[in-house]
């Protein structure tokens, strides 16, 4: 019985890190920049297919990579998703910054295009990356407790990335430029910041984070043309619930939602747990429309 509680506690933490990891990219793109990016899930898919592609490469041509290709995949996924993000920002999103609702439609269209592109490139069927054995087992601190290693990996990755994002945003010159641009564009521009470039960089960075999340999720989920869209609702939920503009809010909200979900799931069936969690979110948002944490700023 004790073992179950330990594992259930870990499940809650693990769900938290999954939610946070997928929301991190969107917290920057939607939260900081205010771009409603409906194609966010597809950037996750890019990461997932990157992992799959690299696993194929290592299977066929580079067996010495088979144990470590996953780490490489995380880096390549960031780069690829970031590059695609850069292109999307340049050709589409930057023309729509003042029209958020049009962005919603445009990025939704983009998500459909990307899904069909994945389907044409990789086939409609789901694929599966051969994951190294060290990623798939479980740690057994006692005979009855199993702690999934893939959960630990996602957790570690989430911690590192969140720390990096925080340091990047609050401790570097670039981060200051980014925050200045997002908070007051014209003032930032007047102070000599190239806001166009900052926008492009920020968007691409958010997409890159999504790519990393996608790569990490191949250990716990599916890889197919529409896999990314499985996460999009929860992702928006986390960011909105946390208070769109606050990174700290995103963390708090991911934690609250994950713990509520994990606890309710344990005591009722999955569908009912979802109902309870979503109802709780709606109630909180009715009382606090600005989300859990709101950025204090002069309007």
């Amino acid at each position: 019985m004790m073992a179950i509680w330990v594992m259930q506690a870990f499940t809650g933490l693990s769900n938290f890190s999954v939610l946070l990891l997928m929301a991190l990219g969107l917290a920057i793109i939607f939260g900081q920049m205010g771009v409603i990016n409906m194609a966010h899930g597809e950037f996750l898919t890019i990461g997932a297919y990157t992992t799959y592609g690299l696993s194929q490469v290592s299977d066929r041509w580079a067996p010495w990579l088979s144990k470590s290709y996953f780490l490489l995949a995380v880096v390549v996924a960031f780069a690829l998703a970031g590059l695609v993000g850069l292109a999307v920002e340049y050709f589409m999103v930057r023309h729509l910054y003042r029209r958020p609702l049009d962005t919603l439609l445009a990025t939704w269209g983009l998500s459909l295009i990307m899904q069909q592109a994945f389907r044409s490139a990789f086939g409609a069927r789901e694929v599966s990356a051969t994951l190294p054995a060290w990623l798939m087992g479980s740690v057994k601190p006692t005979a009855t407790i199993d702690i999934p290693i893939n959960g630990l990996v996602v957790m570690g990755l989430t911690t590192v990335l969140t720390a990096l994002v925080f340091v990047g945003l609050f401790r570097t010159r670039l981060g200051i430029d980014v925050r200045a641009t997002m908070q007051n564009r014209s003032m930032a521009s007047a102070a000599g910041i190239n806001t166009g470039r900052i926008d492009r960089f920020t968007f691409a960075f958010g997409c890159g984070l999504a790519g990393i999340a996608g790569a990490a999720f191949t250990t716990i989920g599916s890889t197919g043309p529409t896999s990314g869209s499985l996460y999009i609702v929860d992702t928006f939920l986390v960011v909105v619930f946390g208070g769109a503009q606050s990174l700290l809010g995103t963390i708090g909200s991911a934690f609250t939602i994950a713990q509520t979900q994990a606890a309710t799931e344990f005591f009722m069936t999955g569908s009912m747990a979802k109902v309870v969690t979503l109802s709780a979110v709606i109630l909180v948002l009715m009382v606090r429309p600005q989300g859990l944490f709101a950025l204090k700023m002069r309007r």
């Binding site: 409609a124 990356a129 529409t226 499985l230």
Partner: protein
């Protein structure tokens, strides 16, 4: 079966039909003017609403699956299998001296689109039969169209039963065929008395688990320790896995589908639940799904199906060889793909028995038709339009295939099972 619903899909449901209706309209108009091909032969049977697309040398059939959208994952295999069967029939001289021509329409994973395309196939193209649909939702959407226009549909997917129509032949298994024999087997060979039922939250898993529960409680006198449903597309199964560990059932009975399926098995393995310490029986994982899940995550679990690619008989060897020759050596064949392959052959047999393409005559001739060349072995059409078939239990292998460990006798289809509702 069905699939994960996502926000973009919900949007698609509302925005797509408008666009597609327009497109369908435009296409329809342009095709309408070029006319139904060729001159109808003198004995061409009349069909409600016009002549059948039939000449002395050609007969036209429709194919209606999702080639795009979320369901393309599953329906691609069916499209390929039907095309293979029709190609083989044409190579063998066609049906009643006519070659079969296919008009393929894309249901685009959207149920209203399915209905629209079915209407187009029946009312504009006057096809002699349609091979199509995959999810129950798409079948329910086209059913009124087929009944109104008196069309003929061959439906390949194993499904929840509780349906029978003059205009539909069901070439997959209905729920009792797939469930009862499998539970009997696991009860007997694994001495299993306690079960944990899991499903994605929609009609097929719920109906199937209802049947399973009745059978476990009333026939096997076993116990259901838990029955759990998770939303389609759910990706976090940690809590559920802990509940399974706590309940310690003899058997986990799983009907999870779509992207959830992959997440479920990956997380099971990561949580230390493997065939070594847990017996698991599923009715929703075929070789197709194994591609996404990865054989290494399923090893040692059981699946109950009527067909596995590894079946060791002459028919199947020929079928697998032909399929791979046409679609590549790496292609896999799941239960539904084989059932889809039966459609054109069953139709051919019925047409030849009736000596006519007339739908009423074909339907009347169908019951009792036997197919000894089926890859799954032998099938027979029951008067209730479902097939007599066997049930097999497959043991999942690391390479993504199943090893057949049990084979039942022929099971009569029973889409409206008494005592199970």
């Amino acid at each position: 079966m069905s699939h994960p619903r996502t926000i973009s899909q919900c949007l698609a449901v509302h925005a797509f039909p408008v666009v597609l209706t327009l497109v369908a309209c435009l296409l329809g108009c342009s095709k309408g003017s070029s006319g139904s091909s060729g001159t109808p032969s003198s004995d061409a049977p009349m069909m409600a609403g016009g002549k059948m697309a039939l000449t002395d040398t050609e007969v036209v059939v429709g194919q209606l699956h999702s080639a795009t959208g979320t369901m393309a994952i599953s329906e691609t295999g069916s499209i390929e299998a039907e095309r293979l069967a029709i190609g083989q029939i044409n190579d063998g001289g066609g049906i009643l001296g006519r070659k079969i021509r296919i008009i393929q329409e894309d249901g685009a994973s959207d149920w209203p689109t399915f209905a629209e395309k079915a209407k187009k196939l029946l009312e504009q193209d006057h096809v002699a039969s349609v091979f199509g649909c995959w999810t129950s939702a798409s079948r329910k959407a086209v059913l009124p169209v087929f009944e109104k226009d008196n069309g003929l549909l061959y439906y390949p997917t194993f499904y929840e039963g509780l349906e029978q129509s003059k205009n539909v032949f069901y070439t997959g298994q209905e729920a009792t065929q797939q469930i009862l024999a499998g539970l009997d087997w696991i009860h007997k060979t694994k001495n299993a008395n306690t079960f944990f039922l899991i499903g994605s939250d929609y009609i097929w898993p719920r109906t199937s688990n209802k049947i399973a529960r009745k059978h476990i409680e009333n026939v096997l006198h076993g116990q259901v320790l838990g029955e759990e449903y998770y939303p389609l597309g759910h990706t976090q199964f940690g809590s559920l896995i802990n509940k399974i560990k706590e309940a310690k059932p003899d058997v986990v009975y799983a009907i999870v589908v779509g992207g959830s399926n992959v997440a479920f098995y990956k997380q099971l393995r990561a949580a230390g639940v493997t065939a070594e310490n847990q017996t698991l029986l599923t009715i929703s994982v075929t070789e197709d799904e194994m591609l996404g899940i990865g054989g290494e995550n399923m090893v040692g679990f059981y699946a109950a199906m009527k067909y596995f690619q590894s079946l060791d008989n002459e028919n199947n060897k020929k079928f697998v060889a032909a399929f791979k020759a046409k679609y590549g050596p790496n292609s896999v064949i799941g239960d539904v793909t084989q059932a889809a392959y039966l459609g054109p052959w069953l139709w051919k047999a019925a047409v030849e028995k009736a000596q006519s393409f007339d739908i009423d005559k074909v339907v009347a001739a169908s019951p009792g038709i036997e197919l000894t060349t089926a890859p799954e072995g032998y099938v027979k059409i029951d008067p209730n339009h479902h097939l007599w078939s066997k049930l097999r239990i497959g043991l999942a292998q690391a390479d993504g295939q199943f090893k057949v460990v049990y084979e039942s006798g022929l099971i009569q289809p029973n889409p409206f099972p008494k005592g199970y509702q």
